[in-house]
């Protein structure tokens, strides 16, 4: 059994947050979710360098700093750029996809309409990252 992951979820939609919680609990996983409702809050959390998340799940459509701007900030930071960041979004916009991979993301996952499909995607995603060797600071 792999150790649980520290997941920073950056998401402004309350139901989306509930979906992740509910998915993890229904999958009987013990990952730890840190919530940030927008980019600025996330950056505050990430200032605690001794307690960085293992992975970041990032929504693109957010108020204030949008997802791509936030990603740029991360990747320009000498420490934060090593944290795998997975985009979790509704945007199938080709431009967003290209831009994200250009700046540097560890994954790009589209939120499906159906909740069942969502659960299945989250399961796979977490399974994949649980199995990966991650940088522990």
């Amino acid at each position: 059994m792999n150790p649980p992951l520290n997941i920073l979820l950056i998401e402004d939609d309350a139901i989306e947050i509930m979906k992740l919680h509910r998915a993890i609990s229904s999958l009987n996983l013990s990952h730890n979710i840190i919530e940030a409702h927008h980019g600025e809050e996330a950056l505050e959390i990430l200032e605690q360098k001794d307690n960085l998340p293992d992975i970041i799940l990032l929504d693109l459509n957010m108020p204030k700093i949008n997802g791509i701007e936030f990603l740029s900030i991360l990747k320009n930071n000498d420490i934060l750029k090593y944290v795998p960041t997975i985009i979790l979004t509704t945007s199938s916009n080709q431009k967003d996809l290209l831009e994200c991979y250009k700046i540097g993301v560890a994954g790009y996952v589209l939120k499906p309409l159906k909740y069942d499909e969502y659960v299945s995607k989250i399961e796979n995603l977490l399974k994949y990252w649980s199995m990966n060797e991650l940088i522990k600071l």
Partner: protein, 654 residues
């Protein structure tokens, strides 16, 4: 005489007288004979001296030869001419005669013998020193006892004279050739107005049917009278000639108009010799063409001056210091300045250039290059205008650059239109991008709630497992289906609004490959078979859009097949400038009245879960993006054929 005997003493006195008379007669005869003899003797002596010694005392070259040409004697002058050393006696003169002249010499010698004298005989000889000389000979025969024994003569070396003479002849010939070939008519009269020389041009000019040689000696007074009808002002022509001759001074460049329209220019030069008026030289030039040229030139000049003055382009001439020397009306109007204000003004001050640009243009001009460029101009009213300028160097008649000529066209309006166009295009691009962004945001914002509702419904079902009644479960199911349709709709609207956003990314697209891939990917029910009837071509377009085009049409065909055995045929025809594709099904068909409607957004004929009514709109938009047309042929219950064209590219693809 015998001794007188005695008897004779006894002769009578008569006899004595008779004898005395006889004696006197005899004595006289003897004396006469003696003196005759003496004279003869003297003459002989003389001639002997003459033959032997006398010649030395003659200054002219003198020579005596025998009848075979051997020199008997000659003086020093003759030796000099003939280049003979010593006394030269015994030298045969025939050795100096050139072979060509043997006959001539022989003829002349015979003449000499016959006539006893030969004068003005000229002969070319080659001396023993191999010098060629021309000699002039006057000779006579020397007779002895009535018989020719020798020939004597005076020789003159006329080589130099001959050369000079030849040169003179040559130069005369040359002069004659020049005169006869001149494009001017020449008439030289003596002081009595008789023709000395004229040339063929003169005869030609005045229609004289004679050769110039035949004109010599002709009286010009009469000639002028005869010819005067050729001139427009006949009497004035004759009077003027008299006047000029009386005036006795050079008259140049007088124009004479002929009745036939020709124009001549006439020069008169009086000829003097030793201060005495000896004749008149007239020259006539055909001036007709030149005058026409001049008139044409004047006309052209006037025309262009008018054009320049009136043209709607501004024209300016500047000198080498860029000071304005000429400006046409329109330039004044364009710049707002008056002519007085502009004259002498440095043209640079009128225009806004940067220094480097100005220097570059100036360099071009100094190299004699023609140039055109745009400049900014500030009019007198302070208004900034855009002008298009074409500048060419200006030269004087001797080819020196004296400045430049600039032609100016006010293109402010064109420029502002151009700028407007650029702005519009930029705005269009911006708004296109914004629209696309907007479509994505709207789609995201619309889809998010759907996802949430879906999650919530799914949790309600989950959390209340076993406690919900059947109608509730069914209603929840309907909510989920509706959410799916809603999501589908949003995706289609997004797809439709995205078509055409990547206009400049066309590439060769293999439609055969695309259709084959689609047949693999798409869900095709068991009872339907798709046939590709002809190999499909490579076209020039957007790969993903073309893929979407075929996908939508094939899906559409599948969707509307209501037969037990479904058939879909995909084919293509190559036309002149495009490919015409066709997708034929044996489905339910479409009524004619709907043919145009179906391409409109949201006009699905049969509402269904999968059909939003946007698919064919997207198809039409894609076809139009590829400069093609789309239409359909259909019979209800028999089937439908969608046909569309994609324009070929210049490289053979579409």
């Amino acid at each position: 005489m015998s001794c007188p005997n005695f008897n004779t003493i006894l002769m009578s006195q008569d006899e004595i007288d008779i004898l005395k008379q006889q004696l006197a007669k005899e004595t006289a005869a003897r004396i006469a004979l003696e003196s005759q003899l003496l004279e003869m003797n003297n003459r002989f002596e003389d001639s002997k001296n003459f033959l032997q010694l006398g010649c030395e005392s003659i200054v002219d070259a003198f020579l005596i030869m025998d009848l075979t040409g051997n020199i008997l004697n000659m003086n020093e002058s003759a030796r000099k001419i003939l280049n003979l050393k010593e006394n030269g006696i015994g030298y045969n003169l025939m050795a100096m005669v050139n072979a060509n002249d043997f006959e001539k010499v022989s003829f002349s010698f015979k003449q000499l013998l016959k006539e006893g004298i030969l004068t003005n005989f000229e002969l070319k000889i080659t001396t023993p020193l191999q010098q060629e000389k021309i000699v002039h000979i006057n000779a006579n025969v020397v007779y002895e006892n009535g018989e020719a024994i020798a020939a004597q003569g005076i020789i003159r070396d006329i080589t130099k004279e001959k050369e000079a003479e030849e040169k003179l002849v040559e130069s005369e010939n040359r002069l004659a050739t020049v005169i006869s070939n001149l494009d001017k008519g020449i008439l030289l009269e003596d002081e009595n107005r008789n023709i000395i020389v004229t040339n063929s041009k003169f005869c030609e000019f005045f229609n004289i049917p004679l050769k110039p040689e035949q004109m010599v000696g002709y009286d010009c007074r009469a000639a002028a009278e005869q010819a005067k009808h050729l001139f427009k002002e006949s009497d004035a022509f004759v009077d003027r000639i008299e006047e000029i001759i009386d005036g006795c001074e050079m008259v140049l460049g007088e124009e004479l108009e002929m009745t036939d329209g020709r124009v001549f220019e006439r020069d008169y030069v009086p000829v003097f010799r030793d201060g005495e008026h000896k004749g008149h030289l007239w020259t006539y030039k055909d001036f007709t063409l030149r005058r026409q040229y001049r008139e044409n030139l004047d006309q052209e000049r006037l025309k262009y001056r008018n054009v320049i003055t009136k043209m709607s382009l501004g024209l300016v001439e500047v000198d080498l210091q860029d000071c304005i020397t000429v400006a046409n009306e329109n330039f004044l109007r364009m710049s707002g300045y008056s002519s007085e204000e502009l004259m002498g003004l440095d043209a640079k001050n009128l225009f806004k250039f940067d220094q480097k640009f100005m220097e570059e243009k100036r360099e071009n001009r100094d190299q004699g290059l023609t140039d055109s460029y745009e400049i900014k101009m500030i009019t007198k009213a302070g208004e900034e205008r855009d002008w298009l300028v074409s500048v060419a160097p200006n030269y004087d008649s001797t080819g020196n650059m004296i400045g430049s000529i600039g032609i100016h066209l006010d293109i402010t309006d064109v420029k502002s239109l151009e700028r407007e166009k650029v702005n519009l295009l930029e705005a269009l691009e911006r708004s296109n991008n914004e629209l696309e962004e907007y479509a994505h945001i709207v789609s995201h914002d619309l889809k998010s709630p759907l996802r949430s509702i879906n999650a919530l419904v799914s949790w309600i079902k989950d959390d209340n497992k076993g406690t919900l009644d059947a109608p509730t479960i069914q209603n929840l199911g309907l909510i989920e289906t509706t959410l799916e349709r809603m999501e589908h709709l949003i995706s289609d609207i997004l797809a439709y609004s995205s078509v055409g956003f990547y206009e400049n990314e066309k590439e060769p697209v293999d439609t055969q490959e695309i259709v084959q891939d689609l047949i693999q990917i798409l869900y095709i029910p068991e009872h339907i078979t798709i046939y590709i009837l002809k190999p499909l071509p490579v076209v020039f377009g957007h790969k993903t859009k073309i893929q979407q085009l075929f996908q939508n049409l094939i899906s559409n065909a599948i969707k509307f097949i209501d037969k037990d055995k479904g058939l879909i045929y995909i084919s293509v025809e190559e036309l002149d400038d495009c490919y015409q594709f066709s997708i034929q099904d044996n489905g339910m068909g479409i009524e004619k009245k709907f043919h145009n409607k179906i391409f409109k957004v949201f006009h699905a004929l049969k509402k269904s879960d999968e059909s939003t009514g946007i698919g064919l709109s997207i198809v039409q938009k894609i076809v139009e993006l590829h400069n093609g047309k789309i239409w359909l042929e259909s019979k209800p219950n028999k089937g439908t054929t969608f046909l569309f064209t994609i324009k070929k590219g210049s490289n053979g693809t579409a």
